[in-house]
């Protein structure tokens, strides 16, 4: 068993392709995802048509600019220009402050402004609308005397828990760890075993008295090691580069990673033992593990928003449980007392993955 583990480790280190797959690919992915795919909306391009031209109106524009969510690109003179800019896609939103803005504010305590939004990207538009709403709300409480705001009998105080700033990066990085492990585990093992079939070395192994449990465990060990190192690296990058909070127990994170890896690696071994070709095995592993992990695990799209059929399917996807766990540990700081359900899901997956791997070898190996 250790002989196989040692040989596998030596082969891994000598095979630059596997090393790239094992270490460079995860780092690349986490950087790409971390930097590029933030689902947050920032620097919404805004044009301003200020017909009021008063200190109050300038104050409001400043509030938009200072929020960080909007950047004022242009000041307009006519309504017609607003149309042109929106249609041409040069700005996403136009803030129109009517001539009576300052007067109304002084007289009635409220004033109307108009925000024109490019609705062709509904998601961005909605977010922009919410930001604008929040900014104007803050603005009114800033400029109005206290007794007037007090008249607003109910003003909801919203606070988002766990991810206070609603940074999508905080959601993505822990989820990404799960997706990464899905890719690495399936790809690396599918390559290693299928390669043995292709080169005929599996037959040589099969002719030795080594037991299939030893072969599988021996093969798993170096990859579990790589997986744990990858998670450590991804965690470090997440925490120190992307400022993702890590509130829960690190050892629980690693224990859960270990459990997940057992299943994923076992599944990879199963695929390559059945397909016996590196090319087929890697394609199958991408289809069967990576894509579902990406799309159906709740990594990008919330499971609650999926059609009922896909929600049911998602229960069969191990990354779903692992993502729940990584997000729970990173963002909520919860422990096994809360996550045991998902941990159980992973344990079942590990048993199935290893069981399939063992079963696939029963013909060839003792």
């Amino acid at each position: 068993m250790f002989a196989i583990a040692r040989k596998e480790a030596i082969q891994l280190v000598r095979d630059s392709r596997s090393m790239i797959l094992a270490f460079l690919l995860p780092m690349l992915l986490i950087l790409v995802f971390g930097f590029a795919i933030t689902l947050d909306v920032r620097n919404i391009r805004l044009a301003v048509l200020d017909e009021s031209m008063t200190p109050e109106s300038r104050h409001l524009v400043d509030a938009f600019e200072e929020s960080g969510y909007f950047s004022v690109e242009r000041y307009l003179d006519r309504h017609g220009e607003a149309d042109e800019l929106l249609v041409g896609g040069r700005v996403t939103a136009v803030l129109v402050i009517p001539p009576a803005f300052a007067a109304d504010l002084a007289a009635e305590g409220t004033a109307r402004v108009q925000l024109l939004l490019d609705g062709s990207d509904a998601n961005t538009a909605t977010i922009a609308l919410n930001y604008a709403d929040a900014i104007s709300h803050d603005f009114s409480s800033d400029v109005l005397p206290d007794w007037r705001t007090a008249r607003r009998s109910i003003s909801p105080e919203l606070r988002v828990w766990y991810n206070e700033t609603l940074e999508s990066r905080n959601m993505i990085v822990p989820g990404l760890i799960a997706v990464l492990m899905s890719i690495i585990a399936a790809m690396l093992t599918s390559l290693t075993i299928a390669r043995e079939w292709e080169r005929g070395t599996m037959e040589q192994l099969a002719a030795t008295p080594v037991h299939r449990v030893e072969v599988i465990v021996g093969k798993l060990m170096p990859y579990v090691g790589i997986g744990l190192v990858d998670v450590a690296l991804a965690t470090l990058v997440g925490v120190f580069l992307f400022d993702v909070p890590l509130r829960g127990s690190v050892s629980l994170l690693f224990a859960m990673t270990f459990l997940f890896l057992l299943g994923a690696l076992g599944f990879g071994i199963f695929l390559s033992a059945v397909l016996k070709s590196q090319v087929l095995a890697i394609q199958a592993s991408i289809m069967v593990t990576y894509l579902p992990a990406m799309l159906l695990s709740g990594f990008i799209y919330a499971i609650a928003n999926m059609p009922p059929f896909l929600q049911v399917v998602s229960y069969a996807i191990p990354a779903r449980y692992f993502i729940t766990i990584t997000r729970g540990i990173f963002l909520k700081g919860v422990g096994i007392e809360t996550l045991w359900g998902s941990a159980l899901g992973l344990a079942v997956y590990a048993v199935i993955g290893l069981g399939l791997a063992l079963h696939a070898f029963r013909k060839e190996l003792a």
Partner: protein, 310 residues
């Protein structure tokens, strides 16, 4: 002498195709037993059944006294196996390969040190021990593979076409090693399609179409060929073979290098008629002599006879 391998009625079917058809034989301890036959004759399939890599469809076999169906794992630790394909790890060094197989066969500690040095010495790879296996010439790789297969000092060694693709000199060296192992008491079970290699075997089983069509020592097999054999030198061997094959009274005609080998039923008849047949085909008969059969001739003749019986 005790038997290292005993096989009776062993059969393997893949769907409709019968790869090995009711094969029976026994191999004595210390013997070099050869399986000779073309590709697809069932040699590899038989070896795989004996080494526990394939489950037999019917029949029985014991290896080192153990039943191949019931004691697969136990058999595997008592045999060495070298497959057709070179199947060591190319991205490991010579020494790492030896240590891996030592680990797989449970050879450890002082015994490992001793056996490792023995293998390096036997395969003459002492100076290449830190070299990647991929960098070695094929003949050297085969010696290493043999070394890894006998690392745990198995009493029985299975070699499936161990020298395919290896140059004649390296093949000769390889057979010297096999001879050495046999002298030390190892039973060697080897398959090959090289006729000249078959001469090294103590006993040969000729395989064709999944069956054993003859089995004896190389000498006895050659002596067993009753029909006389002629070697004919002619100006166009290919055309001569064509002409003779369709002629009455010629049992077999085949090219043998630039000469033609022809088997006839009766020596006197052959001496008289062969030149005539060739002249009739417009070919020149430069020389004609009766020769002792080679194993290849025996093989061709046995295949023909087996075909005639069906």
């Amino acid at each position: 002498m005790t038997e290292a391998v005993r096989v009776s009625g062993l059969t393997k079917r893949f769907g409709d195709f019968t790869a090995v058809d009711r094969v029976s034989f026994a191999v004595s301890e210390g013997e070099i037993f050869g399986f000779l036959g073309p590709n697809g004759a069932g040699k590899t399939t038989t070896i795989k059944m004996l080494t526990g890599l394939l489950e037999p469809t019917a029949g029985s076999a014991t290896v080192a006294g153990l039943d191949v169906r019931r004691h697969r794992a136990a058999i595997k630790s008592r045999i060495g196996y070298m497959s057709q394909l070179f199947s060591l790890y190319l991205d490991l060094t010579v020494e790492e390969n030896i240590e891996l197989f030592a680990g797989l066969y449970g050879v450890r500690g002082a015994r490992l040190t001793k056996r490792r040095e023995w293998v390096l010495e036997m395969a003459a790879l002492g100076r290449q021990r830190k070299q990647l296996t991929a960098e070695l010439p094929l003949g050297w790789k085969q010696r290493l593979a043999l070394g890894c297969a006998v690392l745990h000092e198995p009493p029985i060694l299975f070699l499936d076409e161990p020298t395919s693709g290896v140059d004649p000199v390296a093949r000769r060296e390889f057979w010297d090693l096999i001879g050495r192992l046999s002298e030390e008491g190892t039973t060697v079970f080897v398959s090959t399609h090289y006729m000249e290699e078959a001469e090294y075997c103590h006993r040969l089983a000729l395989m064709h179409g999944g069956r054993i069509i003859a089995m004896d020592s190389p000498g006895a097999l050659k002596a067993s060929m009753e029909e006389p054999l002629f070697e004919i030198a002619t100006d166009d061997a290919a055309r001569a073979v064509e002409a003779l094959r369709v002629s009455q009274g010629i049992l077999e005609a085949s090219m043998y290098g630039r000469e033609v080998h022809a088997v006839v039923a009766d020596e006197k008849w052959g001496r008289e008629h062969l030149p005539v047949l060739l002249t009739r085909a417009g070919l020149e008969c430069r020389s004609l002599r009766s020769i002792a059969p080679s194993l290849e001739d025996v093989f061709v003749s046995r295949v023909r006879r087996a075909g005639a019986q069906e």
